[in-house]
């Protein structure tokens, strides 16, 4: 037995001379840090961060690799093919999200839905901007980061066969976690103190059970007719909501909201990390995509706020323009951000019900926007 017999223990260390591996470990570590220290979307950022380290160990067996000229399967690549490339994981997650959403505040004040539409402006404006740098399919996939909705971003970028799926998924989920940091300065910049102090008394109106049951079915049919490509997205979301509202599947509803959503989230985060390989991720394009993702969130917020200000020009009973910002789909963070900002300006100004209503409408509108994008480019 000689020392050379143990050379296999250190043969991989030479590979670490490639700075890209270590950089990706740092990025993975940063995601884990943000998840634990600041509790930023920990359910996603933690698996994503750990997965990033996992796939960036030289010759990692977690992803497909070439061994003696033959491809050896890796678990994460297998999971990616089984759950992401066919859109299965994001769609199943949508059942859980649908079961979590209470459309009550929206149904009792349906006019709020219009803000959900306005706050999709960032998607299309970012698409226009991205089209200066990328081909149309990639630009559309980058624009959909502004949907502020991870599953929609995954499905659209997958269906459009974007070459930047990894960066798009990371941007979509990271910025969703950063909504409490991104939105307040944009809202403050676009509103006056007087506008932020506008009170919107909430008039509670009860909604019949039959309306709550018919709503998800009708939305699916309308969205499906307009944008057939969105049927799976909106259909799974509304199926989850129907389970919640029907009143006879409480056990399934609870499972969808908790166990199913958690289970898929674990696999989703770590599977997306399979796209975070150094050679694919550390490119100038990725930095540009991350910048455009931020741009999309900023213009979504601006679109909602400016639209509310525009409506105020014609309304006798003024709207607090901050609620327009909740039309971004990041549910329920965006609704909470607006509510907290209202309370900060005036401790008696409760905007929670209105902002959550707008936030829920943003969820619907973002899926419809995803369907429209697919209609345009498929």
């Amino acid at each position: 037995m000689s020392l050379s017999d143990f050379s296999f223990l250190v043969q991989n260390i030479a590979e670490l001379a490639d700075w890209r591996y270590v950089t990706m470990w740092v990025i993975g570590g940063l995601l884990i840090f943000l998840a634990i220290k600041y509790e930023m979307e920990p359910t996603l950022l933690l698996p994503l961060g750990f997965g990033t380290i996992l796939v960036n160990i030289p010759f990692s067996g977690a992803i497909d690799r070439l061994v003696n000229g033959e491809t050896e399967s890796g678990a994460l690549t297998t999971l990616f093919n089984a759950g992401i490339s066919n859109e299965l994981f994001p769609l199943i997650l949508f059942i859980g999200i649908g079961a979590m959403i209470d459309f009550g505040p929206l149904l009792s004040n349906p006019k709020l839905m219009i803000f959900g539409a306005a706050a999709q402006f960032g998607i299309f404006f970012t698409f226009c901007t991205a089209s200066m740098f990328f081909d149309l399919n990639d630009a559309a996939s980058i624009g959909i980061i502004g949907a502020a909705d991870g599953p929609t971003a995954i499905v659209v970028s997958q269906k459009l066969d974007s070459a930047y799926q990894g960066a798009i998924m990371v941007a979509a989920y990271s910025y969703m976690a950063l909504v409490p940091i991104i939105q307040p300065p944009v809202i403050k910049l676009l509103t006056t103190k007087k506008e932020r102090l506008i009170r919107m008394p909430y008039e509670q109106k009860s909604v019949s059970k039959l309306t709550k049951i018919l709503f998800p079915i009708i939305i699916t049919v309308i969205a499906g007719i307009v944008a057939p490509e969105s049927v799976s997205l909106i259909g799974f979301l509304m199926f989850g909501n129907l389970i919640r509202e029907c009143g006879v599947l409480n056990s399934l509803s609870e499972t969808a909201q908790n166990v199913l959503a958690n289970l898929i989230t674990i696999f989703l985060g770590i599977t997306i990390a399979s796209q975070m390989q150094a050679e694919k991720f550390l490119k100038p394009d990725t930095l540009l995509i991350l910048g455009l993702g931020l741009f999309a969130f900023i213009f979504d917020t601006a679109g909602g706020v400016i639209f509310a200000k525009f409506l105020n020009l014609f309304l006798k009973k003024k709207i607090n323009p901050m609620i327009g910002a909740a039309g971004i789909s990041a549910f329920p963070m965006s609704g909470r951000v607006v509510h907290k900002m209202g309370i900060k300006e005036d401790p008696q100004n409760f905007l929670l019900m209105q902002s959550i209503g707008v936030n829920v409408s943003g969820q619907i509108a973002s899926v419809i926007a995803g369907g429209l994008i697919l209609n345009f480019f498929m």
Binding site: M113, A117, K205, I222, L372
Partner: protein
């Protein structure tokens, strides 16, 4: 990756069509919801 500023102008059409379409679809959904609320009032006649 190339820089083609003219693409911004040519893709503005998608912005216009996309935003108008979303407002139309959401408008229809608002109308349907208002109708649902009127037809099926809680505690109203079945």
């Amino acid at each position: 990756m190339n820089f083609e500023p003219t693409n911004f102008i040519s893709s503005l059409e998608y912005l216009a069509v996309g935003m108008i379409s979303i407002f139309v679809v959401i408008g229809v959904i608002v109308l349907v919801t208002v109708l649902l609320n009127k037809i099926f009032r809680p505690g109203g006649k079945k």
